[in-house]
């Protein structure tokens, strides 16, 4: 069993930045993510369908983006944090061949409740902003 550390609320300040994460968008991630989230919309696994919709290739589904955003938050916090909410806005599609860089910053800390807000951005290197939004976590160690 690996030892996992979870960040405590008193260790967090507004303005703290999370370490950036580069995610390579591959066909495997797009299709695998769609199927793992049980999303069989053809544009996420069928290139011809994606092209008929005006894009050059299959593109990432929203539930994968949402999963990656949550993962980015809990990778930082550690496993004892509970996810309270996610509020995500989508921008440009993520297509195979792109690299999405995810960054985050703490925007609110409530030491009474242990709740932190993390503003998270995912930008791909070709078309720019893919997703941005806020993940709210409850961390251990509240007053």
């Amino acid at each position: 069993m690996t030892d996992f550390k979870t960040i405590r609320i008193d260790e967090v300040s507004v303005g703290d930045a999370l370490a950036a994460l580069d995610i390579e968008v591959t066909t495997a991630l797009v299709v695998g993510g769609a199927i793992a989230t049980r999303d069989y919309e053809p544009v996420h696994h069928n290139k011809a369908a994606a092209q008929a919709a005006g894009l050059p290739d299959v593109f990432m589904n929203i539930l994968t983006s949402q999963a990656l955003m949550t993962r980015f938050a809990t990778d930082w916090s550690g496993p004892e944090a509970s996810v309270r909410s996610i509020d995500l806005q989508l921008g440009a599609p993520n297509l195979p061949g792109m690299v999405m860089t995810v960054t985050g910053e703490i925007t609110a800390v409530d030491s009474k409740t242990g709740i932190v807000d993390i503003a998270i951005n995912g930008e791909n290197n070709i078309w720019g902003m893919h997703m941005h939004g806020t993940v709210q976590l409850k961390l251990p160690g509240e007053d």
């Binding site: 069993m1 690996t2 996992f4 995610i23 991630l29 695998g32 993510g33 199927i35 793992a36 989230t37 049980r38 999303d39 069989y40 919309e41 053809p42 696994h45 069928n46 919709a53 005006g54 894009l55 050059p56 290739d57 929203i62 539930l63 994968t64 949402q66 999963a67 990656l68 949550t70 993962r71 809990t74 990778d75 496993p79 004892e80 509970s82 996810v83 309270r84 909410s85 996610i86 509020d87 995500l88 806005q89 989508l90 297509l95 061949g97 792109m98 930008e123 290197n125 070709i126 078309w127 720019g128 902003m129 251990p140």
Partner: protein, 324 residues
């Protein structure tokens, strides 16, 4: 559509507001380790709270939980959605949009709130309504309507796990909306800066830049310097000119930091400065090597020629390390 037809269409569409899509619909699979493992593998999520039973046992929760982000996955329709989704208020409404030309579909926002961490063996039940439909709006994708579905998720004990608000744009795809994408290969070329505009009157300046020299044009009749390059002297109207090589030393006359929009191929944020060169001309360039808060008007700067992308050499200016 004629105005009358459009009015009729809107009446039919808005009749869907408040309609129930799902009522206490049970997920076909209970929350289980196998489906979580596949999900976590695809997402690269190594959180032990979802998969490491031994860790979970001694954790504050004392048990494994399902990934909160999977809340909606348990109730997704599955492979039949690839051909024809089962009929419900939402698919019927989307069919109506499609029949009237609003065939484009784009998920724009999803907001989920979680009230309870569901665990292994829990069954997720979903209630969903069509909550709002906007007025017709002109968007970058085309003319369309935003609608929001509101879903509530509960477990087998009737306790609420969470809610989801999902916002979707149904739109008429604009003609040639994606004409920037002409082929697969081109579409994914990493963007670079706009190519330098080399014309009859300024090509010589860029060619010198390619060789690592920053030149300043000079009127041979009255010796006035000018930049950017142009055919005629603004002082004496002479069209005779030569050039001198800049020492690339100067001071900041004015600057601004550009945050939005981010332009693919350019750094962000980007400090743009008007630099008063020691030779006397003004020069617009980038200020590098410092943050905007550390820049100031009058600050001494020193330039170097740099390769800023595959095809472009440009003067870039840095805070001067020592006063000249």
């Amino acid at each position: 559509m004629t105005p009358e037809e459009h009015q009729l269409f809107e009446q039919k569409i808005y009749a869907y507001v408040g309609r129930e899509v799902f009522s206490s619909q049970p997920a076909p699979d209970r929350i289980n380790e196998a489906m979580i493992r596949h999900w976590a593998e695809a997402m690269g999520d190594k959180n032990p709270a979802y998969q490491d039973a031994e860790w979970a046992e001694q954790s504050m929760r004392g048990r494994l939980i399902g990934p909160p982000a999977m809340m909606y996955c348990w109730n997704q329709e599955g492979i039949t959605a690839a051909t024809k989704r089962s009929s419900d208020a939402l698919t019927d409404m989307c069919d109506l949009f499609d029949q009237h030309g609003y065939s484009g579909v784009l998920g724009t926002n999803v907001k989920q709130e979680y009230f309870k961490e569901a665990g292994m063996g829990d069954q997720v039940f979903v209630d969903m309504i069509i909550d709002t439909i906007s007025e017709q709006k002109a968007t970058a994708r085309g003319i369309g309507y935003f609608f929001e579905s509101l879903a509530t998720f509960s477990d087998q004990h009737g306790e609420k796990i969470g809610t989801q608000r999902f916002r979707v744009l149904k739109f008429i795809p604009a003609e040639g909306a994606n004409s920037t994408v002409s082929s697969d290969e081109e579409a994914l070329e990493t963007p670079t800066r706009i190519a330098s505009p080399r014309g009859h009157d300024n090509g010589w300046w860029w060619e010198a830049a390619d060789e690592g020299r920053m030149l300043i044009q000079r009127c041979t009749a009255c010796q006035t310097l000018r930049h950017p390059p142009r055919p005629m002297c603004g002082e004496c109207q002479s069209m005779d000119w030569d050039s001198i090589e800049s020492t690339m030393q100067g001071e900041v006359l004015s600057f601004t930091e550009i945050h939005h929009p981010k332009v693919p191929g350019y750094p962000s944020p980007l400090i743009c400065a008007v630099i008063k060169m020691d030779e006397g001309t003004n020069f617009v360039s980038n200020l590098r090597g410092c943050e905007a808060r550390d820049a100031s008007i009058g600050m001494r700067v020193s330039g170097v020629m740099e390769q800023v992308d595959d095809k472009t050499m440009l003067p870039q200016f840095y805070p001067a390390t020592q006063e000249a």
